[in-house]
Amino acid sequence: MQVNDTNKEFRPLIVAFCCNWCSYAGADLAGSSRLSYPADVKIIRVPCSCRVNPMFILRAFQRGADGVIIAGCHPGDCHYTSGNYFARRRMTLLFSMLDYLGIERERTRVEWISAAEGAKFSATMNEFAETISRLGENRRLEDLRCKE
């Protein structure tokens, strides 16, 4: 595909895994409060932050995501009592491993956003999108066959 690079501004593709009970509702609140967040953020609703399998994150990168953010209930507020505590350990270890393999550490993030924090949702996504735009396209964990 021919692309005129000079006219094309880089728009990152960001995948946000949002927990159904807190962060997804937080995104909803951001919307109904008319707070904006970048359209580059694609939200995937998951039942709990601990539903996010490390494979999901790597698959997102494989298919062309430039950044992946996982948003869940604040520790202690999990709808299923302890899901986010497990997610916290898993994601810490996974991010550390990605960093160890030389993948830019800023491309992955975990944030705790409650259903009442529409403003935090919007601010977090704006800030994350800006960070990823600065980093540019993800080239270290991508599969060209999955991209156009």
Binding site: R59, Q62, G76, Y85, M97, L101, R105, T108, R109, L141
Partner: protein, 330 residues
């Protein structure tokens, strides 16, 4: 050279004759003296059984299947194998009552490839004697320093104490506690990588992992990797079970594999030993072990079956994932 200690052989024969067991899991000779293969022996075939300084394979994984067969099997387990055995017991993969663990002593195991690298060829036999190894070759006798020809996994040995056993073949050799062999930390290799810049690390791993031919030897030998159905065998997983078509697949395969065994990996080092491309896969597993030790407290998988595994437990004070970003930019 003698391929098995008489005491060990007689012990196995006794176990079969007195009806304790009906078969023995040990090694048999391959085409050359150094390509030994794990094998099961019955009373009639015991004569072919060997256990010497080439027998490096971790036998625990075979006991998953063997312990679910009829009868009782005696297994020759080295100290490092007993960690994996314990871990599999904890995961309810092995029927304990069907296994008779015969703890065999270990002085480290010889890597014939390393010996060949030193110019010792045509190997007919070898024996560890203190800090040296005596080789018998078709060109005569040769000796070299033990640390030059040991497997990578033996250089960072966790200690010579068996974590679990029914009987020891050489109780006098059994140490009181598990003391790491060389006094050096097994995390030195990980620390070295951690101190590189992200760019250097990326180039290092791309160089290493791009050699992967996806033979799945690391998965098949790993005692922790013993799911009946593997995520990588699923055609919809995005990772085909054939050879990789680009660098991403190696990355994904090895990251996920290391993650799946995180907190369960006993650091037996089999993955690195069997890799035909000599990829230092233990560096991935040890990174997880090091992180777990640093963030969630010292934990050695297979040491104690009663302890909570780090990834199936939590505390309310755990570090936030952002700690990875805060550790200082390198």
């Amino acid at each position: 050279m003698q391929r098995i200690n008489d005491d060990v052989l007689n012990k196995c024969r006794d176990l079969i004759e007195n009806g304790t067991c009906d078969r023995v899991l040990a090694w048999e000779e391959g085409e050359f003296c150094y390509d030994v293969t794990p094998a099961v022996f019955t009373g009639d075939t015991l004569g072919k059984m060997i256990y010497d300084d080439f027998c490096a394979a971790n036998q625990s994984k075979y006991l998953i299947d063997e312990s679910h067969k009829e009868g009782r099997i005696a297994a020759l387990l080295k100290p490092c194998d007993t960690y994996s055995f314990n871990q599999l017991l904890k995961e309810n993969r092995i029927k304990r009552e069907n296994v008779y663990v015969l703890g065999v002593p270990c002085d480290g195991k010889i890597d014939a490839e390393k010996a060949r690298g030193l110019g010792i060829k045509g190997i007919l036999g070898a024996e560890i004697d203190g800090d040296t190894v005596a080789f018998e070759t078709i060109y005569g006798k040769k000796t070299c320093s033990k640390k030059d020809v040991l497997h990578e996994k033996c250089l960072s040995c966790k200690g010579k104490k068996h974590m679990i056993f029914d009987e020891l073949t050489d109780p006098e050799k059994e140490p009181e506690t598990a003391v790491p062999e060389n006094g050096t930390s097994r995390f030195d290799g990980v620390s070295k990588l951690e101190n590189m810049t992200a760019e250097e690390r990326f180039r290092f791993w791309r160089g290493e992992l791009s050699r992967c031919i996806r033979c799945n030897a690391c998965r098949n030998v790993c005692p922790a990797c013993s799911c009946r159905q593997c995520v990588f065998d699923n055609p919809a997983s995005g990772v085909s079970s054939k050879a990789n078509t680009n660098d991403f697949e190696e990355n994904l395969y090895h990251i996920i594999r290391a993650f799946h065994v995180a907190g369960r990996c006993t650091d037996c080092g089999e993955c690195t030993r069997v890799c035909p491309e000599n990829i230092p896969l233990h560096l991935l597993n040890r990174k997880f072990i090091k992180d777990i030790n640093e963030l969630y407290g010292e934990y050695q998988a297979g040491y104690d079956t009663a302890l909570d595994a780090p990834l199936t437990s939590y505390t309310k004070q755990d570090a936030e994932p952002g700690i990875v970003h805060e550790r200082g930019v390198r």
